[in-house]
């Protein structure tokens, strides 16, 4: 099985002896011990495994490692100390219940704010509907995105 060189959160990482078709999700979790990116469905339906590749949100469970040739950012790379505006807003609003989906939610939200710095609810709904929160924290996610965007706490 081949080796791959990946740029993960700004660092060069070499992944040894993995099949070309192994999804990035499992390379991150099991080969590189980056556990923040989560497995929820394995078919790209839940968004728990969302990472950025070259700044764009991608489902890591649907991305074969051999196809990754641009920089990857995971939740660990958003900021390690919780200082990213979205992470701060998530804690301010106390978004999580079980918390399992939130890494993927944050990565989708970060990609949204990069494209649309001041999103409306409609923008948020459109960008975030690929991310399932089984606990149902959607209202708080919306509010946290608005706060991070500097929109204040409005929900309308």
């Amino acid at each position: 099985m081949p080796n791959y060189r990946l740029t993960i959160n700004g660092s060069q990482r070499t992944v040894e002896n993995v099949p070309a078709e192994m999804p990035l999700l499992w390379v991150l979790r099991d080969s590189l011990n980056l556990k923040g990116t989560k497995f929820g469905c394995g078919v790209g339906a839940c968004g728990a495994c969302t990472v950025h590749i070259n700044g764009e949100p991608r489902r890591a469970c649907q991305t074969q490692v051999s196809t990754v040739n641009q920089a990857v950012t995971t939740i660990e790379g958003l900021s390690a100390d919780g200082s990213h505006p979205l992470q701060k807003a998530w804690m301010q609003v106390d978004v999580p219940q079980c918390g399992y989906c939130q890494a993927g939610q944050l990565m989708s939200a970060a990609a949204l704010l990069r494209r649309t710095p001041r999103p409306t609810d409609a923008d948020i709904n459109s960008a975030m509907s690929g991310n399932i929160c089984r606990c149902g924290t959607y209202l708080r996610i919306r509010e946290a995105i608005h706060i991070a965007a500097g929109n204040g706490t409005r929900r309308a």
Binding site: P23, K35, F39, P96, C98, G99, D121, N125
Partner: protein
Amino acid sequence: MKNTKEAKQLNRRSFLQVTALAGGGMMISLYAPKSLAQGPRGGGPGPQNTPQTYITINPNNTFTIIAKNPETGQGIRAALPQIIADELDVDWSQVTVQQADFDPKYGSQIEGGSTAIPTNYATMRQVGALGRTMMLNAAADNWGVPVTELTTASGVVTHTASRRTATYGSLAAKAATMPAPTNPVLKDPKDFKIIGKPIPGVDNMAIVTGKPAFSVDVNPPGMLHAVYEQCPVFGGRPVSANLDEIKKLPGVKHAFIVDRVQIQGGQGQGLVPGVAIVADNWWLASNARKSLKVQWEEGATATQNSPGYATAANAMKAQASQPPAGGGRGSAVQGNVEEAFQGAAKVVEAEYYFPLIAHAPLEPQNSTAQFKDGKLEIWSPSQIPQPAGAAAAAGIQNTDVTMHLVRAGGGFGRRLASEYDYQAAKIARVVTEERAAQGLPSVAVKVLWSREDDLAHDNYRPGGFHYFKAALDASGKMTAFRDFVASVSSVTPTGEFPTGFVPNLQISSAPVNPFSIPTGALRAPSTNGVSFVMQSFIDEVAVAAGKDPLQWRIDTLRNPNPPPAAPPAGAAQGAPGAGAPRGGGGGGGFNAARAIGVLEAVRDMSNWTTARASLPKGTGMGVAFQFAHAGYVAYVVEVAVDANKKLKVNKAWCAVDIGSQIVNTSMAKNLVEGGFIEGMSHIMGWEITIDKGRVQQTNFTNATAALGYPPTRMNQAPPSIEVKFVTTNFNPTGLGEPSLPPAVPAIANAIFAATGVRIRSLPLVKAGYSWT
């Protein structure tokens, strides 16, 4: 350098142990007798002679407080330590929360049934108050002043008259040498500083920065990864498999058949037989599974299917008019419904159905275990951690199991059954033994299910077929209520409203056979399904009576019939004005005044009376209430429905009565919002169907819509869910369950108000509805 002070009796109920720590700190522990330590679900009493450590006072005046219960997303890891910290009178910023391992000394360590708050609230207060009293006594002794002249705040004792202060940390060594207090004084709730506040989740930083916070993230050195193939037909077993071929595939280290082991006392299916594939990483194991060829012995369940259950149920509905024959899942008779139907001004009759559903927590089932030197160490995400089941699966004694409680990515009742723990325990033992034969050391193994495994091998919320009939007199009062339940394992609502508020009542049931699909508790059992049928049919009755359906519920609740008897001695809550129903899901007697309280609150919040009159065409407001797990919840929901059955929830209002005190106002509101949004999943898209004894749904989405299992998504969630907590003078109770059940009928009743179409069968997607 431990100096353990002997236990001293306290209030004849609990015993205190104080342990001095090196460097001047101390630990405060309780010996709790059975009455305090045992939970209602039989988690087992804590031994009376082992101290439960709750508080560590560190010399630097920080405090480590134990969270004794497992966390699956309801915030109990914050809530129980909050209670201790407030009575201890320290600042939350001084507190570090530490998760307890499973340990019999803590008694019941269960996340389920909304029981963690009601069963622990008083004890946790007492623990904190004991700690504070010890600090006061130590300072009083040091300074030679009466305790009554001392105050506490932020972990500091102050003697105002002499302007002296001492931190708890500086007093700990002294306190550890003093007699244990006998008279801890609890705070007046108006003085709470941490209880009743929006304390954020203790793991929030770890969650938002992607730290390994969850069960699936457990990663002991050298760990191997397992997949586990179970027979798609419930009750089936593998006869043989191409194991030699599988073992040759990339990364595969082990492949073997696991036989069935019955687990005594646990919920769920025990150790289900299957085929384990163990590899260097999970994807390699999962990839090898694609080449797995198993000869299954499918068993008798392979003949069962969902249309068959529906046909069988329909064939039974003639039994509705017969007196209960027994043999079903409970019955209740009062007066004579058939006579009442004869003399009625109006009769309402309807058939209702709700399906089997799966829990689908977002973190797929998993567990990590290591078998070494005859002992098992296991990291369990269970809501009801029980080493006994893992021990039985591994074939060892309970005392040879060390169980760590790991944060789970959602439970919803799924993790009240621990099949994944049993699988991990067994697989870990086989792997260790096979490695030993090759001269290799023991390593841990994580078994992780796929989403497809999770949907196919759940313990499902039971479905139900309800055949209702009710009678009204000329004034619009209900004179008879009849429900016949053709049940696929579901509970018969013998204790539910309108029981106790209608003079003639007959509720009966009979099982739909054969039915061999495993069922279990899902958030708010049994009301999560029963509330839909009861509160929807009640709505039909109210409309038939020509009344405002919210006011009709209040009027009915104000007129118990037969009039209430005195509550039974020893009732969990002395409920003034208690009516007859027990309500679903346990938690003391139904209290009509509290149900009326939440209905009136939600009526006022939603401006129900006037708002309903001015809604545009295709928009409607619906109401429902439910007593569930000791909590009272009422919803009003406004929906819009277009000509293409596109449905939108415009807004929801929710009034909640869970007693005198909300422990954590942030999580409480979060749980209500989540309960409503889960209800949207129940009503629109969730159904598990059975074909040839196996589940048809595969994942959250499927190219064939009926084979998907779609949860509510962001774009479907309403802009606002307004929540009001109605405070009453009853013991605080939990909120994990009660917010879900009435959300479903409230939406259904709103659809009726918007369209005139009554929703009697779930999920709505089968009738052509979708979210806008």
